[in-house]
Symmetry: C2
């Protein structure tokens, strides 16, 4: 998430000084930036001229530079790691936490990433290769392998000493929680460092650990991991193998990133384009055209059917040209009600308030909702025609009441249809394994447009034949 | 977040047993449910018949029942606390963490909440009254007042003993982080419990605490708190007064709820309705009609202008009826490109990738993007007319090439306009203090519809006068 300097004056304020230092006295950069958060240093790296970034990172101690890399935007990080010598890149990524290291390597050119991995110390290499096997969108792809676990039959004092010893090694295990394992090494409980601290001397870990431990498998989808985290107010989710051995931990900071990314995807898909997968500010011109153009063309071609439907009623149009005046008004009411329904259902599905099998319950709810909203708009529709006639704003001819009723009736039907179609499309997409968020407002509107034209002329034929038609 | 039983088989599995126990042996409920997570017990409470819920809560120890209340959906919690005797309600909420207690009281009927507050123990009452002063959507409204702080000149051993003593009192301070204060009691640093544990004996807190501590003020908007949390990978954000005294801590579990809520609001607003503020599954019928109907009516009335624009061209329509066939096709292309642009900009603004002053940069980017996308669709538009003519699917008369060019040219202009309007509307709304997410797809489409009609007929007059017009 690249923030703008306005929101984060710190990076913008210190960047010029750091640039000066880099030129005059690079050896002083480390000490001068010691007090800054690595997230801010990452912002500095994104602000300063691109060609200065390698020198900036080189001026920091490796562990510090690795911290900065963890906060850097993906593209810049990949570029940097690809351009510096392999040994240097390996030295940097070996200092990153295992999950961030795997993520960084996953984003890179595969050949370069392989070279870097081969240069890693044996333990880190094995760990990284293992993490890289998991799909990035699963718990396995998110988890870190540095966590703290103790045997549940240990005394709290022993456990405390071992945690302290581990903490003093300076490794950066996720100490959000301490996991208790049984004699077979399977996950059996969880306790916080604070609970360990509070435990009475003489107790065993089994006495104080909570056994109500929520866990996921490495294959669990990251959205499900996020939902579990939110539901149980967790700050870390343990990942267990089929034999219930603890193999990793997903920490809440990564969960927040998942939630943000998933939401960005949902919103972009709901806007009727492919998810950009990178910031608006950094995607290339042609990348943007592709992400938007594909859907735009599909929707445009979909609208051909609307034109064809109109052509089918050319005869009616030529006899009652007045009907054409209300077409945009009428079809857009269906698109709008469909857009509302689809946004509601996509969000409720994503929050887990609704599941696939609730589709009929939703249909039963949207039907009266659509009818009521349609009736409301229908009244406005009748009023539009009749009032304009009364006020002398337009002359719809002697049958203006019938025209008004045609518009009103069509709106009732189209708004009901729009609400239903908008609500059902996300379920339908999910049923076929597609993302419900692809049920964008434009998609729904395109479907409703063509049926809207058919409904409108159908109603017109019913109400106006013998008079205008 | 009410999850469906399908996603959470646990609550659905145990609910029948708990119901049986409640009837036969309520005294055993506490022991039998001891191993369940309070979030699951809250799901049980939401699953069992409404009239059994008070008995279920009464069967749990007060601290446990308070935990369950924290996870319960807002409406059910308010109802329960309002219907049980005030002393009982006070006993329950006094066991909740201060931030959740304040939130629960805020959601309730004000008179009942006041009565409950007056029954709280003095300390809890003062704390609650203080928290209730803050706006719910600010850091003050989110923070808890139970945190751990130590003087920075303390030795790590002293600090450790005092943290342990505090932990053993059984109070539920947020121990995500330990805050160090200077001699004036101002926030001066932060360290994790783990860092305290790892510190060498003899060191002082000032030696080990990080001074790069990110903090917010109680008035900071909750979205900004969430952004800071995500940016710095925090699990707690300290809230300081103007004098930099620590007055509370916002914890990451509340941040996740904020992110989820804000995104639900954004998505619903982008769908063209007011944010529901409660789940789709629990909002009342008329509540739903109101949230959707207001915008739907506004948009419908907005479309009157489209009808008026059409009326202005009735003369042209009567001479070249063929023009009416492409109106839905053409105006929807503008609405679709506008929907894409507005979704992109709303999200980029919300993530902080763009700020208000970037509007002209975005405009400069959307102009060529819109033109390129428009040119692409324009080609399709020309092809639609010319191909249909060639293939004998429809006869547009001798000037079909001109008609095709009219459609194509209009599409280029309208897609460009739609992209620009969709991108600028969020900036414009924010400029006037409104939520940019209100720039919904339907809103943009309605604006683009009327201009689309004007552009289409404008182009038609240019290209077709002397032939069809």
């Amino acid at each position: 998430m690249a923030l703008d300097p306005q929101d984060k004056p710190l990076a913008a304020l210190v960047a010029p000084d750091i640039l000066d230092l880099l030129e005059e006295n690079p050896g002083a950069v480390a000490a001068e930036t010691e007090e800054l958060h690595p997230a801010d240093l990452a912002d500095v790296a994104e602000l300063i001229p691109r060609e200065q970034v390698p020198a900036f990172l080189a001026a920091l101690p490796p562990a510090r530079a690795a911290d900065v890399l963890e906060y850097l935007n993906d593209d810049l990080r990949s570029d940097l790691l690809e351009e510096i010598p392999t040994e240097q890149a390996a030295a940097l990524v070996s200092q990153m936490t295992p999950d961030d290291r795997a993520d960084a390597l996953e984003e890179m050119d595969e050949d370069v990433a392989d070279e870097i991995v081969s240069e890693l110390p044996a333990e880190a290499r094995a760990e990284t290769e293992r993490l890289l096997q998991y799909e990035p969108n699963t718990a396995g792809g998110l988890m870190t392998t540095e966590f703290v676990s103790v045997a549940q039959d240990m005394s709290v004092d022993q456990a405390f000493d071992s945690v302290r010893a581990l903490a003093r090694t300076g490794r950066r295990e996720a100490t959000y929680a301490i996991y208790a394992t049984d004699s077979q090494g399977r996950l059996a409980g969880v306790l916080s460092l604070r609970e360990l601290l509070a435990a009475q001397p003489g107790a065993t870990i089994a006495d104080v650990a909570r056994t109500e431990v929520v866990s996921v498998s490495p294959a669990t989808d990251r959205q499900e991991v996020a939902r579990i985290t939110a539901n149980y107010d967790l700050i870390a989710v343990p990942v267990v193998s089929e034999s219930r051995h603890l193999i990793g931990v997903v920490t809440v900071d990564d969960i927040i990133d998942v939630i943000e990314e998933e939401q960005t995807e949902d919103i972009q898909k709901m806007g009727g384009l492919e998810a950009l997968d990178e910031p608006y500010t950094s995607i290339s011109f042609w990348g943007m055209i592709r992400k938007r153009g594909v859907w735009l063309c599909l929707l445009f071609v979909g609208s051909f059917f609307t034109a064809t439907a109109m052509e089918g009623f050319e005869d009616e149009l030529s006899r009652a040209l007045v009907l054409s005046l209300f077409i945009p008004l009428i079809v857009s009411s269906g698109g709008n009600s469909g857009s509302q329904a689809t946004a509601l259902i996509i969000r409720a599905l994503s929050l887990g308030e609704l599941t696939q099998k609730d589709w009929w319950r939703v249909a039963l709810r949207e039907l009266p909702t659509g009818l009521t909203l349609g009736a409301l708009l229908g009244l406005f529709g009748v009023a539009r025609v009749v009032l304009w006639q009364y006020l002398g704003l337009w002359d719809y001819g002697p049958h203006y009441w019938r025209i008004g009723l045609t518009v009103g009736t069509a709106v009732v039907a189209i708004v009901t249809l729009g609400s239903l179609a908008g609500a059902m499309l996300p379920f339908l997409l999910r049923r076929f394994g597609l993302d419900p968020a692809s049920a964008s407002a434009p998609f729904v509107a395109t479907i409703v447009d063509v049926t809207g034209v058919l409904i409108y002329f159908g109603v017109a034929l019913l109400l106006l034949s013998g008079t205008l038609l």
